[in-house]
């Protein structure tokens, strides 16, 4: 895909790295199987509240995070199970958080929408659309201030582009040259509203022009494409402290949340099926088979291993204790 806004392609393409591709395939499968288990657990009443699944969008988190160092910051909206897992929070700790257990990554106080692991640079899960976009720029402000070489990646959906905080933040990030990547996951629907019904400019990447910011339009159903584009953005951020807007076009195969049926009334079954034919996992698996890296048996073995890992996470979450009642009043204020 081509970029319509200023798009310096200053980094050379990475030669095929079999190991990296295998890792990405494994990570996408982990997210997929984890989310399937989360849906099951939700149906069983083990998970409460809101629960937004990432199925269909796995290539975005996996491709982007593969381009980061361990100490880089990642901050997300409420559809963040995938990013949390790939940033290094264990499936046990994420599942336990979804179950509201004391062993969860936010001690059972955050839930599905508020996963955190500060030590791993995973700065949340935020529930107000677009509310975390300024936080990302603030993290980048701190990194630049302290001259660390950290980069911040902010994941948000296309609906957040209509929020004032998006525009205010992109402006300041550009004026102050902050090392931040605004990664818009355009899955085409803000809950049940098609983006073109509520946005005057539907090529989100064009918004970068208003803020004199580098930008790229990226195929989000291909982890390798996402990886390459993010790598270029990371380099701009790390070397020159320049922000980037990435519009990553993707699709969610499930409903907006667990209360939204598979395709709802706002999109057709045919459309969902058509998009499922672009499944990012199938896509990368096919490539690896074509390259002679794996065969079906090897793929099945990886899948079985991940199934076991996710089953173990459910068991761990199930058997973990609820938070102690005294926890109610802890963590309101820091010492």
């Amino acid at each position: 895909m081509t970029a319509t806004a200023r798009s310096p392609k200053d980094a050379p393409p990475v030669p095929a790295q079999t190991e990296l591709h295998l890792k990405m395939l494994r990570q996408m499968l982990l997210i997929r199987r984890f989310e399937e288990k989360a849906a099951e657990a939700y149906a069983l009443g083990k998970i409460g509240g809101f629960c937004h699944l990432y199925i269909g969008q796995e290539a975005v988190a996996v491709g982007a995070l593969a381009a980061l160092k361990d100490n880089d910051y990642v901050i997300c909206s409420y559809r963040e199970h995938g990013q949390a897992l790939i940033k290094g929070i264990s499936p046990n700790a994420v599942m336990a958080e979804l179950f509201g257990k004391a062993t969860g990554c936010s001690k059972g106080k955050g839930g599905s929408m508020h996963l955190f692991d500060a030590k791993k640079g995973f700065m949340g899960g935020h529930g107000i659309v677009g509310g975390h976009i300024p936080l990302a720029a603030g993290l980048a402000f701190a990194s630049k201030y302290k001259s660390t070489d950290q980069v911040t990646v902010c994941f948000f959906g296309e609906a957040a582009v209509n929020i004032g905080a998006f525009h205010e933040t992109l402006n300041m990030a550009s004026v102050w040259k902050l090392p931040v990547i605004f990664l818009c996951e355009n899955n085409r629907y803000g809950m049940g509203t098609a983006f073109e019904r509520v946005a005057a400019v539907t090529d989100i990447v064009e918004h970068a022009c208003s803020y004199d910011m580098a930008a790229e339009l990226v195929d989000g159903m291909n982890a390798l494409t996402v990886y390459d584009a993010t790598r270029r953005a990371v380099e701009r951020a790390r070397k020159n402290s320049h922000p980037t807007l990435l519009e990553v076009r993707t699709y969610r195969f499930m409903g907006h949340s667990m209360s939204d049926p598979l395709h709802g009334v706002y999109r057709t079954k045919d459309e969902v099926e058509e998009q499922k034919a672009r499944d990012p996992i199938t896509h990368l698996a096919a490539k690896l088979k074509e390259d002679g890296v794996i065969d079906q048996a090897a793929l099945d073995a990886i899948d079985a291993e991940i199934h076991a890992e996710v089953d173990a996470a459910v068991k761990f979450a199930d058997e973990s204790p609820d938070p102690d009642p005294d926890e109610l009043y802890n963590d309101v204020l820091a010492d």
Binding site: G127, G138, A165
Partner: protein
């Protein structure tokens, strides 16, 4: 002890804390080149440079959120709002991000940030520029809220706020910036959560804070002429509230009037009265009275504005009522 204006006391606190801790930054509209809309940041750009004194665009939501993010990343930002009226646009970041981050992250992520600026009415600024913020902002767990009334308290509380590991709201006052008073040099810290008796008395407690301290003091002078000894209790902090100090004073005087700048409905005074009726019921000799802004948007006309505001006369009338001095 040196005499300083409230404005210069705040300036001194900022300067000293920025000298003390390289992670303190000041950001907001006009804080740098312009030297502050109310000159609180005068001279700071020259001393600390543009890296630490950051002029922002007019984008309260955005820069409040960037401040919170910078605090999450290890800095101690002081975010100045030109006035708190404009901070309504930033409320999502103050409430949903700053106040809740520690809790929803299970205690992992602290947000040591100060949001400060003038709150409440000045003179004839009309309805959109005259709003008192106390009861809006003191409602929120995860925040601390202070409202200093004197130059010394302004310095001491701002220093405490900057050193605190939590988001702290500092409500200043446009009408207070020129107020002069004695301010200790150097390390002068006023702890958050401690009220202070600004004038001792025995017949009635006048509970106040921020600009209403002056109102209460004038009322106390007038009451003294009427042979009534009023105690003036300055809350200084609104969250946490110094409940012990309120109860102790009421147990001594047995009568109270609560004065505030904000509207009556669900105001700070309502919280104070709730405390008194619950924990000092047997000590009360009369129902507690409140003096607030009239329950209307602030009018522009100066006579209407005066009529809307809390005044010494209204406080005197309320005090006489709790003392049953006018019959009934």
């Amino acid at each position: 002890m040196p005499t300083l204006t409230y404005r210069d006391a705040l300036n001194q606190a900022l300067r000293e804390e920025m000298q003390r801790d390289p992670n303190v930054v000041l950001m907001g509209e006009e804080v740098g080149v312009y030297q502050g809309a109310y000159k609180v940041s005068r001279g700071l750009l020259e001393e600390f440079g543009p890296k630490r004194i950051v002029d922002t665009p007019i984008a309260e939501l955005g820069f409040a959120g960037i401040g919170v993010g910078a605090a999450m990343g290890g800095l101690r930002p002081v975010v100045e709002f030109m006035t708190w009226n404009f901070a309504l646009l930033a409320l999502d970041q103050i409430v949903n991000s700053a106040a809740k981050m520690l809790y929803m992250s299970g205690g992992q992520i602290r947000v040591p940030i100060v949001f400060r600026g003038p709150s409440g009415a000045a003179l004839q600024l009309a309805s959109q520029h005259s709003q008192a913020w106390e009861s809006w902002i003191a409602h929120i767990p995860g925040l601390k809220v202070v409202a200093p009334a004197t130059p010394a308290d302004a310095k001491g509380l701002l220093k405490s706020a900057i050193r605190d590991n939590n988001p702290v709201i500092v409500l200043e006052g446009e009408m207070l910036y020129n107020l002069k008073g004695d301010v200790p040099d150097g390390e002068h810290i006023v702890p958050i959560g401690k009220a202070e008796i600004k004038r001792e008395g025995s017949d009635v407690t006048l509970v106040c804070h921020s600009k209403t301290l002056t109102v209460a003091q004038k009322a106390a002078d007038q009451l003294a002429e009427q042979n009534v000894s009023a105690e003036v209790l300055d809350l200084r902090s609104l969250r946490p509230l110094d409940e012990a100090a309120i109860l102790e004073s009421v147990k001594k005087t047995n009568r109270a009037v609560v004065v505030e700048e904000g509207w009556p409905h669900t105001g700070i005074g309502a919280q104070v009265v709730d405390l008194i009726q619950r924990d000092a019921f047997d000590d009360l000799d009369a129902p507690v009275q409140r003096v607030t802004q009239a329950d209307v948007p602030m009018p522009y006309n100066k006579f209407l504005e005066r009529a809307a505001k809390a005044s010494p006369e209204k406080v005197v009338a309320a005090a006489r009522k709790v003392l049953y001095l006018d019959g009934d």
